[in-house]
Symmetry: C2
Subunit: 189 residues, 2 copies
Amino acid sequence: MKTKLGAMALVYPIPIILCGANVKGKPNYATLGACGVMGLKPPLIYVSLMETHYTTGGIAENQTFSVNFPSTRLMAVTDYCGIVSGRDADKSELFENFYGELGTAPMIRECPVNLECRVEKDVRIHGRAIFIGEVIQVHADERCVVERNGRKALADMPTLDPLICAPDDHYYRSGRAIGNAYSEGRDYH
Amino acid sequence: MKTKLGAMALVYPIPIILCGANVKGKPNYATLGACGVMGLKPPLIYVSLMETHYTTGGIAENQTFSVNFPSTRLMAVTDYCGIVSGRDADKSELFENFYGELGTAPMIRECPVNLECRVEKDVRIHGRAIFIGEVIQVHADERCVVERNGRKALADMPTLDPLICAPDDHYYRSGRAIGNAYSEGRDYH
């Protein structure tokens, strides 16, 4: 039997990311769960922020942003970045910042994987600023990189150890591998 | 040390969903990882499909779609729906279909959670059809519903048991809870 829960934006699991932008010339980071893939060729991802968020102005100004994936050991500082606004606290000293090819998208050295993105489209809807970005470069810790089919690729989830959220507002670790994409269903039917 | 991996759309973990639409009057389902939250009030989510995908035409025609979250026991059939196009195989008999308030967004009884959505904005970019939808109703299996703060809410991740994907193209189970959102960082600094 199904129960109606009303109108809610429930997607799970929720990837927790730190969205980086220069605001007033300084690195700032906002914790978001509103991030995902939109396309592969060219590589497109999005972040959705409130138009009133401090980070939003920095992205709109520079037309660049970063996506940083904290591992579970960064849970406390990541949660902190989601509670406190850059208007009220200077977040530029929380991490070791670095810049890549775009020059204006600050990234977090302590996060195992970082994407630098150029804004491709800026969609405003119901007070939200949705930035669709083209990924220009992916930076990853060497220990999180493997060779797959002759190319450098990201390691498995236990190695990346991402911080994951869920509709119950708990943080979770990733679990164990159970199958292969584009393979488990090959003989279905 | 960081290594450059090139330009790739890497977001993890990836929520695996079955996107439902009526195509030529019949339920069809496409397996996607390109789905996420965009806003909470009103509740906005998105799905991103290739413009050439069979499901895309159905969503554009009806201006409605569904998001269905398979549990891990649906791994094989979910993978199958990602391998085979609705053009080549009739997917309307794979599941027990049901409809909700919108009447044209088919949902999957076997998935523990289903969202029915009305298209709010249709963004086309680089051959992609990105449908931003307002969630009109959430349907959930009774066993996945708990009471939280006096309201009906979704249970924890081990109960929902979502099928999760990662950049290594493996499917994963969710892991264990490690903390509370908006709480772990309260005393940071």
